[in-house]
Amino acid sequence: MADIRNNFIGIKSPNPFWLASAPPTDKAYNVERAFKAGWGGVVWKTLGEEGPPVVNVNGPRYGAIWGADRRLLGLNNIELITDRDLQTNLREMKQVKKNWPDRALIASIMVPCEEQSWKAILPLVEETGADGIELNFGCPHGMSERGMGAAVGQVPEYIEMVVRWCKQYTRMPVITKLTPNITDIRKPARAAKSGGTDAVSLINTINSITSVNLDSFSPEPSIDGKGSHGGYCGPAVKPIALNMVAEIARDPETHGLPISGIGGITTWRDAAEFLALGAGNVQVCTAAMTYGFKIVQEMIAGLENWMDEKGHRSLDDVIGRATPNVSDWQYLNLNYIAKAHIDQDACIKCGRCHIACEDTSHQAITSMVEGVRHFEVMEDECVGCNLCVNVCPVDGCITMVPLAAGTLDQRTGKTVEPVYANWTTHPNNPMAKVAAE
């Protein structure tokens, strides 16, 4: 049986599934329910400094986009950090940690970018027995207008400075949470590392407007006819998050820096992908907000089953396994040639592959053969682009089949070369590196 116990920068939890700092972790009531359901850890909803707490809007905080059957694909929020008193949060955290010693409890913190503010709050958090802290440098709305959250996360120098203060004033492990609202995610990650962070977590939410009300012309969610951008999360952001995790995992400067992966994780499969790209564990929010805490049970069982099936004994067998396979485009093998193949038994003849290829790609799929509705790949036109696979409604009906070395590519009339060759040496590349004579 696969062992999915997690040790993330010394913080132990029975599984790698943590709840991200967000509404589900706002108070003891929710967190107790989460732990009962099986979550390995929680990052408590972000704490602010002592004094009157922030206030939230009193209207809609969330907007969404949906797929078929109104399946929630993307969620956006304009909620701020905790709007509860600091002492109340600290008291509850302490009690919850006492009740659940085997679970990870992390405190997310966001205070003004001043040394004194951080110096003041850290001992208070430490006193709760929390296993670590996460620095919220990601929140893209509201708090960023006050010089916190993403406003810090978008300036690598600030990140480094604050991380350094935290490492100076607490013995607790420090996780730096990064904003994706930046051009190159490697820069803030490198800064966090320079400041001495123990880990980074990413991604926080993405600046977004989910929709516009076409009656009132207000962005949604609408507060009295106006809307502000929110933070976007959910299944729709997963590809963006995966890429950013991979960027940090394979950057020579940050390679090996522990990563807590966040962004649209909804199933065990999503989680396994984050782990494979280099995340040491994962944090989940939208899936829980959509389906409730019980989903963690599917994640645990699914991950275990997959690991058993593949013979992975522990998470260490999985973490980072895909990282070396993330490459720059220029190093992809141009001698690898694949062609789409349609399984005629599985085909339901919707014709979407045909029209996608015909209208928007390479005119490589038939619609009619000898007067009969029939969809088949014309290998002499197929460039192997995979669009047909992606638009086909039947899982596994269309597959990409690589041509073996030595066979003829009917499109180019050339024989498939057995050797690896990439753009850097391609004759069409004016910058091609010629082997030294």
């Binding site: 078929a68 059957d69 109104r70 339901i348 003849k349 919707c350 014709g351 979407r352 045909h354 029209i355 619609s367 509705r373 409604p393 039947v394």
Partner: protein
């Protein structure tokens, strides 16, 4: 003597009034907004969609479904009406299980097609409920066209002609318009007087005058029409009912299924409508099923459909056969009527003979079966009655007993087009086919008149 449900002979009042109301409620209740959105999400928006090809009126089904999914129900209705102005009735009565839904790729994939018929009803209900008219008449052409018959073919032709600016006069023999939509469809398929609402919706475009109670051959002659009008469209359907050719066919208790169906549709009080305790329906098509199911719903204790060939030969779709079975109708195959047995002039039983295929010929085996029956419905097909056409002038050419037309609906007579059940063509005898025929003939008339 037993009363109510088990009353002997042909009698009304077999059920409670609640039971009648329940039995004759909408067969396929309309989808509500949520259901329509969920269902519309299932459509794959196929390329050159099979459903669209299967539709006799070629409605752009993927497009209208997508329009429902995006909250544009009115646009969806227009997509439907562009091809089929009687899209509302077709949504209710089309045998979708043998047309669009049969070829839906979801049927291939999961055995559960997108419910195209119900989605079509959703969209058309929205538009008709709002009284939204999508078409206006073109500038008047000054041309006058007569349409014989206010059934699906005639109404579709009239609407298309009116759109093109022609003045249309529809002559309808029956007191109400709608043809088989009004008189020939099971009551639970078209509730709330929908057929009349649809006639009103179609004629609201203007330029269409319907004259009811005007029968061809009785009140006017075809030759008068061709003189008075620039063109004539014949869409009078089938007037005759095929005979059983069985002894005792004229006994009390033997009736035409189509007349029973019509009477039921027109009845204001279903409880007063008499039906037999034991009913036998002879035939294997939709009419047989409609008559049998409705007999059962009116409270008949035993209803049996007897068809002279096998299940696979029945014209009634699989869905219709299942509907009959679900309502307690027994369907028996390989039986042909031989003799209606009467007592005091009233039918009490029917004698049937078993049949079999001998080579490619159907023959009686000599073995017989007797079923108790106080009511026997004949549903072995309808036939075209050409006599009305031939009151004066040149005779119209027929083929296989119906009017012969070319690909555009032109008959052998100049200025005369025809379509729907009264013609012989490649189309099936369905409401939706009649609509297509009427629409296409109207386009042909328009081209000819304006050419």
């Amino acid at each position: 003597m037993t009363t109510g449900h088990f009353k002997e002979g042909i009698a009304g009042g077999r059920l409670s009034s609640e039971a009648y109301a329940d039995n004759f409620s909408d067969l396929h209740p309309p989808l509500d907004h949520h259901e329509a959105l969920v269902e519309s999400d299932r459509c794959y928006f196929c390329y050159d969609a099979p459903c669209m090809q299967a539709c006799p009126t070629s409605i752009d089904i993927p497009m209208f479904i997508r329009q429902i999914a995006t909250g544009n129900a009115l646009g969806s209705a227009k997509t439907i009406f562009d091809q089929n102005i009687l899209g509302g009735m077709c949504a209710r009565v089309c045998p979708t299980e043998t047309l669009c839904e049969e070829v839906c790729v979801r049927e291939t994939a999961e055995g559960k097609p997108v419910q195209i018929g119900r989605l079509q009803r959703y969209a058309t209900d929205v538009a008709m409920g709002e009284g939204k008219q999508f078409y206006s008449r073109a500038k008047s052409t000054g041309k006058k066209v007569a349409v014989v018959g206010a059934g699906p073919a005639g109404l579709a032709a009239a609407h298309r002609l009116a759109r093109h600016g022609h003045d249309v006069t529809v002559l309808e023999a029956r007191p109400k318009s709608g043809g088989l939509n009004e008189y020939g469809i099971a009551a639970y398929k078209s509730v709330d007087n929908f057929a009349q609402a649809e006639v009103d919706y179609v004629t609201a475009i203007g330029g269409i005058a319907i004259e009811n109670g005007k029968a061809l051959g009785r009140d006017y002659q075809l030759s008068e029409l061709t003189k008075k009008y620039d063109a004539v469209f014949l869409g009078m359907g089938l007037g005759g009912v095929n005979a059983l050719r069985a002894e005792g066919e004229d006994q009390d208790g033997v009736a035409n299924a189509v007349d029973f169906i019509a009477e039921l549709r027109q009845a204001s009080d279903l409880g007063s409508l008499p039906v037999g305790r034991r009913v036998v329906v002879i035939g294997g098509g939709m009419t047989a099923v409609d008559a049998a199911v409705q007999s059962k719903l009116l409270g008949a204790e035993e209803v049996t459909i007897c068809y002279r060939r096998g299940k696979e030969h029945m014209n009634a779709s699989e869905f219709e056969q299942d509907l009959a079975a679900a309502n307690g109708v027994t369907i028996r195959h390989w039986l042909q009527p031989k003799k209606v047995i009467a007592d005091g002039g009233k039918a009490i039983a029917i004698e049937l003979e078993y049949t079999a295929m001998k080579g490619d010929k159907l023959v009686g085996t000599g073995e017989t079966l007797r079923l108790a029956a106080d009511q026997v419905f004949k549903a072995i097909g309808q036939s075209f009655v050409p006599a009305a056409l031939n009151g004066s002038g040149q005779a119209i050419a027929l083929e296989n007993g119906r009017i012969k037309v070319d690909g555009e609906g032109r008959t052998s007579l100049a200025k005369v087009w025809a379509g729907g059940d009264c013609v012989v063509d490649s189309r099936e005898d369905l409401t939706v086919s009649a609509v297509a025929a009427g629409r296409d003939a109207a386009e042909s008339i328009h081209r000819t008149l304006m050419g």
